[in-house]
């Protein structure tokens, strides 16, 4: 009997926590999960929208959430909020009921209801707010939201703010954050294979291939990467004109022994890599490197991140101005031996680039864990710093708003209508969630105030005003659930520092069922 017929079975089934989180660990791995479990979220409301957002954060396992809200559950709340128990919750503290029912979703999450402190008293308390990772608001009156935003904007280490606003079928949200570095952006652009600028070992290996001397089986299993580099060594310069490119492709096919050699077909299909320059991503060369000594200098971003980005800049300043090699290799037609050999070459280069990279790290931030350096290099081609502006800055610039109305009238009209309805509701003194009438004239007045003088309002503004005055204070279950998902996705991206959050105001129109971005 061979070994595989009676193998010593390895019992490696993961523990119950890993099994519970399996479907999300496949997205953000244990590194993301750890950050999620360390996070503390503050939500300044227990509306249907707020509890929908929290549900989608408690389930994947944030560490802690606090709901700060002194509202008493109304009949309407008991009807539209899944985290209240119908009529039996009416008259009780809404936040306490919500925390109890949300906490049931996940034993490893702690929740707290703060019902005796008015929101107005915490929005200016940087001390209190700094205990949290992220602050989420829903339909907060604009004056309080402005104070909260100012408080959080004043300190580079203050938590991010996710401000959500909704009325009926319309909604929007905005992430206010300080420069937010993302190492694992999960970009769909793969790292360079360095076919155009092969590193020395790869170049030597490819040039030395004696293709015509190989036996037919070996010949049909040479990976396309060395084939391309080898073929390039047979022509005097990089193919530039269409003619030269076609000739190069013909050359590749002429190297075939037999018609059905798929590795040469792959090389033919990938030939463009020979003349496409290995350019550095603009997210590094334009958005990060020039600003490392100015707006991205610590404490704007953490010292360790700054040191890694500085080392990367120094690395790319050296010839041949490329990123460190990534050790991952896509699958390609090859024999096991040739593929593993090629993979080894990339790994060796990765390791030597890593040593070079480490020697370029400035000494000041202290010890940086080796696995962080490795993760950083592996993902270097997708590294980003997500830079944003303060909540409301867009709206204070009438010219930007006016321009946005011309460029994207639908989304901008929804945004203006939502801003206007929040103002109007605050002015009328209506409490959150209670029915209130808002007149079209009043909404229009607020909108006109946000636009350059004599702006033509247009049809989209009229439609948005009509819709917003139909249901100014409605927190519809479906809109709430939609925001619950969209806002939680963004919150998870911010907390795990993986994937790329959305800048500007994200507008949601549940009538046309579309989303758009305003003020980016």
């Amino acid at each position: 009997m061979s070994l595989t017929e009676s193998p010593e079975i390895i019992s490696a089934q993961p523990d119950s926590k890993t099994r519970r989180y399996d479907r999300q660990l496949r997205l953000w791995a244990s590194s993301g999960q750890t950050l999620l479990e360390e996070s503390r979220i503050l939500v300044l409301s227990s509306s249907a929208t707020s509890t929908s957002i929290l549900k989608n954060l408690v389930l994947p396992g944030i560490g802690h959430f606090t709901i700060l809200d002194d509202a008493i559950t109304s009949a309407a709340d008991a009807g539209n909020n899944f985290f209240l128990e119908g009529p039996s919750s009416i008259g009780k503290r809404r936040a306490s009921e919500a925390v109890r029912l949300l906490a049931e979703l996940n034993d490893s999450v702690t929740g707290e209801a703060v019902t005796s402190t008015p929101v107005a008293s915490v929005v200016s308390s940087l001390n209190f707010l700094s205990k949290f990772t992220l602050i989420i608001t829903h339909n907060l009156p604009p004056s309080q939201l402005q104070t909260l935003s100012d408080t959080l904007w004043s300190s580079p280490t203050a938590p991010a703010l996710l401000a959500v606003s909704s009325s009926g079928f319309f909604a929007e949200f905005f992430i206010q954050h300080h420069p937010h570095p993302i190492i694992e952006s999960h970009t769909e652009t793969p790292p360079s294979l360095r076919i155009r600028d092969p590193f020395p070992a790869l170049l030597e290996h490819s040039k030395s291939l004696k293709l015509s001397e190989l036996d037919p089986t070996e010949h049909a299993h040479i990976p396309y990467i060395p084939i391309l580099i080898h073929a390039r060594s047979l022509v005097p310069h990089d193919p530039k004109t269409q003619e030269e490119k076609n000739a190069f492709k013909t050359l590749i096919l002429s190297l075939k022994f037999k018609q059905d050699e798929e590795n040469f077909d792959e090389a033919h299909a990938q030939a463009y890599r020979v003349w496409t320059p290995t350019s550095l991503p603009s997210s590094l060369t334009q958005d990060i490197f020039p600003h490392l000594d100015t707006k991205l200098a610590p404490p704007a971003i953490p010292g360790i991140m700054h040191a890694l980005l500085t080392a990367l800049r120094r690395f790319t300043e050296r010839e041949p101005h490329v990123l460190p090699v990534s050790p991952g290799l896509p699958d390609m037609k090859a024999s096991t031996e040739t593929y593993i050999h090629l993979q080894r070459m990339y790994k060796d280069q990765f390791n030597s680039d890593k040593e070079m990279f480490k020697s370029l790290i400035p000494p000041n931030p202290g010890e940086i864990p080796d696995d962080l350096i490795e993760t950083f290099i592996r993902n270097a081609h997708g590294v980003q710093v997500f830079v944003g502006e303060q909540w409301g800055a867009f709206d204070k610039d009438v010219n930007r708003v006016g321009e946005a109305l011309v460029v994207s009238p639908k989304d901008t009209s929804v945004h203006l209508a939502l801003r206007a309805v929040r103002e109007a509701l605050e002015n009328s003194g209506a409490s959150e969630g209670a029915s209130a009438n808002v007149s079209a004239e009043e909404i229009k007045m607020h909108i006109v105030g946000m636009l350059p003088p004599d702006t033509e309002l247009g049809e989209e503004i009229d439609k948005a005003i009509g819709e917003i005055t139909r249901s100014p204070t409605a927190d519809l279950p479906n809109t709430a659930a939609m925001l619950g998902g969209l806002v939680a996705q963004e919150a998870i991206k911010m907390i795990t520092r993986q994937y790329v959050p959305q800048g500007g105001y994200c507008i949601v129109d549940c009538i046309d069922m579309r989303t758009g971005i305003v003020g980016l």
Partner: protein
């Protein structure tokens, strides 16, 4: 007081204050058919009957949204039981429910949490139910992870349409998610593009050629496929592999790891082994919430006419910002379910029946597993019953051109799909 659906009203004053803001007044884009006020509320709360297919990631969200929106007569079908890996998103389930039927537990939870809602569960397959069953609903919402089940319900609802009877047209709202991405769509059977019309939009499943798995493994996935596709049947003979059995995964993991070591391939892990053999798709609560909300919002707009509904496809990508695209997917005239025209297929004169069958299985816009082929009275190849399969088997090696003149019509059927596909074969 009981509505016409027999459900006693437990509404308290103010219960629907939020939704009534919409139902009391038309908006600027609302259709003139909208019966603002009591008419529409009575229909939504006392008459509408809605079917939810799937009580998993999307289904849990859909049930909760429908209940809060005021649909009071909800039916739910699901054939699965609860697994621990469901608990990171299927929020109506708790650890104590593991092993219980999803439909039953979800229905009970909703009825307990949202008073006055009747949820009728069915723990079983959609294929168990007949046309009469599907006729009773006003709307169907699907939150499924299976292409096969979606094709079945889509074809069933298209077949149900009787032009003489408007009630026979059941809007189908379909949602699906994968990681941070998802889509929701509205299908008006026979009127708008159906699920079958868009089959070519599906991602092609990753398939590794057997020769790579057997001879030139390069990736950890190749080693795992070797363990599950080649080694399991060789060693265990007729014993069926159960991908939910951790002992089976342990065995596959062990065998795959040994092969990986032999070939110096890195990266075989338990989690990857399980992911490959179960074809696991990442899933999170937030994406399900977005897509389920989009589906239920369409159900609400269709049931009440309170606002225009989606025409007809919404897709969302949340990995890089919030990107979405709303568009009208077009009906296909040669759609085998709703198109009426036969599908043109041009093949080489040397193609055998067996090769034609492989093409039908693999072609993106067809994807029919185990098809049976006939043309008029000629039985080309039948998968079942066994006697007919044996009689028609010799045809597999014959050229199609020997059996059929150019322009010949081939009828393709499969036991898993409730429709026939007509092919018009010509030779190149």
């Amino acid at each position: 007081m009981a509505g016409s659906n027999g459900i006693a009203s437990q509404d308290w004053a103010g219960r629907y204050d939020h939704i009534d803001q919409i139902l009391n007044t038309p908006g600027p884009r609302t259709s003139p058919a909208f019966m603002a006020g009591d008419g529409v509320k009575d229909f939504l709360r006392n008459q509408a009957k809605i079917l939810v297919i799937g009580a998993g990631g999307l289904g849990c969200e859909i049930l909760a949204n429908l209940a809060l929106t005021g649909f009071k007569d909800i039916h739910v079908i699901d054939m699965d039981t609860i697994d621990i890996s469901n608990l990171n998103r299927q929020f109506l389930f708790r650890p104590k429910d593991v092993g219980q039927p999803k439909a039953t537990v979800a229905a009970e939870f909703i009825m307990k949490r949202v008073p006055g809602i009747k949820v009728t569960p069915y723990f079983g397959k959609i294929q168990d139910k007949d046309d009469e069953y599907y006729m009773q609903f006003n709307l169907v919402i699907c939150g499924l992870d299976s292409v096969e089940a979606r094709r079945w319900i889509n074809a069933t609802l298209v077949n149900l349409v009787d032009p003489e009877n408007l009630e026979s047209l059941k809007p189908l709202i379909d949602g699906g998610t994968e990681g941070f991405k998802g889509q929701a769509r509205v299908i008006l059977p026979t009127i708008t593009s159906c699920y079958e019309c868009s089959l070519d939009m599906l991602n092609k499943p990753t398939a590794f050629p057997i020769c790579t798995i057997a001879n030139t493994p390069r990736l950890p996935e190749h080693c795992i496929e070797w363990a599950s596709v080649l080694e399991w049947p060789r060693v265990h003979r007729d014993k069926k592999m159960d991908t939910d059995d951790p002992d089976h995964i342990n065995w596959l993991y062990t065998v795959a790891s040994a092969r990986a070591r032999e070939f110096k391939i890195e990266g075989v892990t338990w989690s990857l082994t399980q992911g490959v053999v179960k074809n696991i798709i990442p899933a999170i609560a937030s994406t399900n919430a977005i897509i389920a909300a989009a589906c239920c919002n369409e159900a609400f707009k269709i049931a009440t006419s309170s606002a225009a509904f989606l025409n007809n496809y919404f897709m969302l990508i949340g990995t890089e910002g919030v990107y979405s695209y709303t568009f009208e997917h077009e009906k296909r005239d040669d759609c085998p379910v709703c198109g009426g025209e036969s599908l043109e297929m041009s093949i080489g004169p040397e193609i055998t029946v067996e090769e034609l069958i492989d093409m039908l299985t693999e072609k993106q816009d067809i994807q029919i597993k185990k098809p049976s082929l006939s043309s008029g009275s000629i039985q080309i190849y039948l998968q079942a019953p066994p006697q007919l399969e044996a009689i028609t088997r010799p045809n597999l090696q014959k050229k199609v051109s020997e059996l059929l003149p150019t322009g010949g019509e081939v009828t393709v059927t499969a036991s898993t799909l409730p429709f026939n596909l007509s092919l018009n074969i010509t030779y190149k």
